[in-house]
């Protein structure tokens, strides 16, 4: 479903030229749950940004469902992300002036749902994540764990083909982190494709594939035998 060929991403800062991704070949099938691990600066977040179309690679190819994304305009990429991707960010990335429901509604409205349908779908998504009593709270009135669950509700409300999660438990305590991991496990059971970056081996082990990146290259790609 997602495939990269010789994916390279480099940055130039004045005279300094840094190659963060150095020719990554990668393939993820529909319905897979992959955890990407690696030390800080290894290039895992950069890799996620490339395959989730938030950034443009320096060279190489990204194919999603066989479509080469190289020639997509920014606007096409935006529409593609809206239609097919869901994102969970490390710092929740909720809009502070919107309530939990409104945060989840936003991409649904953008997809053309009426206000009423968007609200109903958003509330359903939030209820599924145990936030039925927090529908009208703004992010600052929610705990970190609750905010991350709102973020997940927003990411899955429109049934995306792929869910990208960038260290979703980094700012959470262990109880909240486990809740988030349970949610991901449940989503995976429903055949949701998930790519998650994590530093925690304990959480990575809950995925069916564990990919390790170091120095801009995939150094290991193992099937989790317990899954």
């Amino acid at each position: 479903m997602i495939e990269t060929k010789k994916l390279v991403k480099s940055f130039r800062d004045g005279e300094v030229f840094t190659e963060v991704l150095r020719g990554i070949d990668f393939r993820l099938e529909s319905g897979e749950y992959a955890a990407i691990m690696g030390r800080s600066g290894a290039g895992k977040s950069t890799f996620l940004y490339q395959i989730s179309l938030l950034d443009q690679p320096t060279s190489g190819e990204i194919l999603i469902n066989g479509r080469n994304t190289e020639k997509m305009t920014e606007s096409e990429q935006t529409r593609y992300r809206l239609a097919h991707f869901g994102y969970v960010f490390q710092d929740y990335a909720l809009l502070p002036e919107l309530s939990a429901t409104e945060n989840v509604m936003l991409p649904l409205l953008m997809r053309g749902l009426t206000g009423k349908s968007a609200r109903a779908q958003a509330e359903q998504s939030l209820a599924r994540l145990g936030l039925k009593k927090r529908l009208h709270n703004i992010p600052s009135h929610l705990s970190g764990g609750e905010q991350q669950r709102v973020s997940i509700a927003r990411a899955i409300a429109h049934h995306p083909k792929i869910l990208f999660a960038d260290e979703p438990t980094a700012n959470l305590d262990s109880e909240s982190s486990n809740t988030i991991m349970d949610i991901f496990a449940e989503l995976h059971k429903e055949k949701q494709t998930i790519i998650m970056i994590t530093h925690e081996l304990e959480y990575a082990k809950r995925a069916e594939r564990i990919i390790t990146i170091d120095d801009g290259k995939i150094i290991s790609d193992k099937r989790n035998s317990s899954k």
């Binding site: 940004y49 938030l54 950034d55 920014e74 606007s75 935006t78 529409r79 992300r81 809206l82 239609a83 991707f85 869901g86 994102y87 960010f89 990335a93 809009l95 502070p96 002036e97 919107l98 409104e102 936003l106 991409p107 409205l109 953008m110 997809r111 053309g112 749902l113 009426t114 703004i138 927003r154 990411a155």
Partner: protein, 419 residues
């Protein structure tokens, strides 16, 4: 379900309403306050400038010409066939009152009894109006302008009322073009010469007004004046006409013309009779007002620009996130445009209430006391709405540009806060 454009409008509106609802009320209040000030600057500055002249025109209209003024043809000394004309005009159903006036140039002289032979006579050239006191008062309310002494009565004999600027004590700065009489007040006898006829008259009252035609001239009872100028045929020089409430001066003027009045006299509405320089001044003041207002407009635009720029730059991360999850940049830009429109419209609505609900009635009731007119605030609604349109347009542009500058930045750079 929705086209891409209407979709973006919908999302833009959704984001704008949420942003405004949860914005800091003090910040919102301050921005709206700036918009109100801008609106007032747009409408009131030129409104006062034009009102200064409009006030003068209004005084001239109400206190001298009436709604319609009939005067002698340019090549005639007086209005021929005046008695029939007055009868015709008085018979029109739109007419409330008419005041026929005789008018002739004259020289006034004061202090002639105490003047030494070597001294220059204290004289002033004036226009004398012979009026029927009651009719004149019905048309122009002249009695109210007599603030010292008394107004004329029909049976007054050799008595006049005199404009304040013919008396030196009321002239703030001596003007070599307008001579004034010294030591003349109510009860003083002065000498009045019309052509070859000289008569001694007593000052019965002093007219104080901001209308030159009243303050630089003299009024006396028509029967007295007729005997001085030797006119016995009843032909007058002017007829001031007051219309009933709601009657249109232009249609009355046209009706008079159709009745054949034009053969004997010139028929003008009060607006036709305005001196051209007043119309020119109004145009000039309108231009000046527009120039001052445009400065206000620029200030308002800069305010909105700064507010939106700061808002967008501090929310750059969230803008990046929105783009990241698939919200179109144009929808986010529209949210800023809608917020700008909101500020401009709310500011304008409050400004409208202040101007039309408070300032105009207040200034109408208590006109601004300018030396040559009682200034009013002139703000015709179509012009005001045009200015609101200008304000909204300027703020839309001022809101759009900074939003566009921030939103067009790379999505990931915005999310990560990279430059």
């Amino acid at each position: 379900m929705f086209s891409k454009y209407s979709q973006n409008v919908r999302i833009g509106f959704f984001l704008a309403t949420k942003s405004l609802r949860r914005a800091n009320p003090w910040t919102t209040g301050l921005i709206i306050f700036v918009m109100v000030l801008t609106f007032l600057n747009l409408v009131v500055v030129s409104g006062i400038l034009v009102g200064l002249i409009e006030g003068s025109i209004r005084e001239w209209h109400e206190k001298f010409t009436g709604d319609v003024i009939i005067s002698a043809l340019d090549d005639k000394k007086y209005i021929e066939n005046s008695p029939n004309l007055i009868a015709l005009v008085s018979g029109f159903p739109e007419i409330e009152a008419v005041s026929p006036r005789y008018s002739e140039g004259a020289v006034l002289e004061a202090n002639y009894k105490t003047k030494k032979e070597t001294e220059k006579p204290n004289t002033a050239g004036v226009q004398i109006f012979g009026i029927d006191p009651e009719s004149e008062n019905n048309v122009t309310g002249l009695a109210a302008a007599v603030t010292e002494g008394e107004y004329l009565s029909p049976d007054d004999y050799d008595e006049v009322i005199i404009g304040q600027f013919l008396l030196s004590q009321y002239v703030p700065v001596e003007d070599p073009n307008f001579a004034a009489l010294h030591d003349v007040g109510v009860g003083t006898k002065i000498r009045m010469t019309v052509g070859s006829v000289t008569r001694e008259v007593t000052v019965k009252g002093i007219i104080k007004s901001k209308v030159d035609a009243l303050t630089r001239n003299v009024f006396m009872v028509d029967s007295q004046f007729r005997s001085m100028i030797g006119r016995t045929d009843g032909n007058v020089d002017q007829i001031a006409v007051l219309l009933k409430d709601g009657a249109d001066p232009v249609s009355v003027r046209e009706k008079l013309k159709r009745s054949g009045v034009e053969r004997f006299a010139k028929v003008q509405t009060y607006a036709d009779a305005q001196p051209k320089f007043l119309k020119d001044i109004i145009n000039t003041f309108n231009m000046l007002g527009a120039a001052f207002s445009s400065i206000g407009l620029v200030v308002a635009s800069i305010t909105i620009f700064i507010v939106v720029f700061i808002n967008a730059i501090t929310r750059r991360k969230f803008i990046g996130i929105m783009k990241g999850i698939g919200i179109e940049g144009s929808a986010i830009r529209l949210s800023y445009v809608f917020q700008s429109i909101f500020y401009a419209l709310v500011g304008s609505i409050i400004g409208l209430v202040i101007v039309y609900g408070f300032l105009i009635p207040l200034i109408d009731a208590h006109p601004i006391n300018f030396p040559f007119s009682d200034g009013i605030l002139v703000a015709p609604l179509p012009q005001t709405f045009f200015r609101i349109g200008l304000l909204v347009f300027a703020t839309v542009i001022a809101g759009f540009i900074p939003a566009w500058m921030i939103i067009r930045k790379n999505t990931l750079d915005s999310i990560l806060g990279r430059n």
